[in-house]
């Protein structure tokens, strides 16, 4: 089973993300800040990272920089998931190596679309309207 690392300082958000991603057959590892997320990546590199921006200790942007410089750190698909919804933040994130970007609030459909976009889940046959 593939692993998704969910990084967010809000336990509520982590719980919602866990529920959505488990339904997509991901095994979930949680981290409450960037530093803990880096430790998790050193233990085992996940296939996907759902990443908040603003967190104590180490924010998501700094985490992404460290991750992409780690051995094997270019492999995970990183999807930001943040209330930072300005085009400047989005551009910085893409430049730093983010694969996709979710502006909060989010729901299951948005997560599914973005994970499809980066090839983490397959395109399924569309359902009848």
């Amino acid at each position: 089973m593939r692993t998704c690392l969910v990084v967010d300082d809000s336990s509520v958000v982590r719980k919602i993300a866990r529920r959505i991603l488990e339904a997509m057959d991901f095994q979930i590892v949680e981290a409450e800040d960037g530093e803990k997320a880096l430790e998790a990546c050193k233990r085992a590199m996940p296939e996907a990272v759902l990443l908040d921006w603003n967190m104590p200790v180490m924010d998501g942007y700094e985490f992404l920089g460290h991750l992409r410089r780690m051995p094997g750190g270019d492999a995970p698909k990183v999807v930001f998931c943040t209330t930072e919804n300005g085009i400047d933040h989005i551009s910085r994130a893409i430049h730093a190596g983010a694969n996709e970007y979710i502006m909060k609030p989010f729901d299951k459909d948005i997560v599914a679309d973005k994970f499809k976009e980066v090839g983490l889940i397959a395109l399924t046959e569309p359902t009848e309207v």
């Binding site: 551009s91 893409i94 996709e100 948005i110 679309d113 973005k114 395109l123 569309p126 309207v129």
Partner: protein
Amino acid sequence: MTPPDYEYLRKLLKDHSGLDLSADKQYLIESRLLPLSRKHGLAGIGDLVQKMKAGSASHISQVVEAMTTNETFFFRDKVPFEHFRDTIMPEILKARAGRKSLRIWCAAGSTGQEPYSLAMCLKEMSAATAGFRIEIIATDLSQEVLEKSKAGIYSQFEVQRGLPIQMLVKYFRQTGELWQINPEIRAMVQHRQLNLLHDFSGLGVFDVVFCRNVLIYFDQDTKINIFNRLARSLEADGFLVLGAAETVVGLTDSFKPHPDRRGLYRPNGARLAAPATMPRFAAMAAGH
């Protein structure tokens, strides 16, 4: 909702839009029309039906709009847009190398996500289309929906459905919580109000027609009629793109499925009258 009210709405929707509801779609009517009733301060669907029976044209048109407007997103289903880029466009560009012009019709343009997705695709392949005059015509039954399409303004929720983040950054401008598609992309799409039940030959002849997830609402005879008229609005070597759950098979021999691109259809040359006799820019000549 009482059975007579349901029958009244079924018949009215059939007559006005071709929408063909089976006998068990009460939930669909309730989910779409209860919010509309509330918006008008009415107690429920019964009161709404009374207004319509009293001849209120505005209530009737709003009911038709509420029942026929569908969820849509950018690059919906992805695959048709890959076919557009990798199969349709290379072939059409080659075939039109002399004429250097081509026309695309989004027959259920809705709030603009589909025509603008096509426009962005074309923009991304601008090296190949250099020197070509390309028209995209988006039509819809609903004027309100067309106005939204023309404005090209979408909520944060809407731009996160189907649109890759790089495309958002590249082709949209942010204003507060809303995102507006760039004027350059907006200018690539023309809008017209159109009911597919009525004659659409005035739009002229197209090289590509996207007609996805709209015919599923029509009964069989109406579908056949529309397919046959669509065949006359397409160049003999043009493409028809249908939704993934739709097909012409078993309905008409005006089109034949593409051998290995699901959802693509081509006019069946064997039985097609020469469409070249139709004016290519009839809509413009008529002063629309």
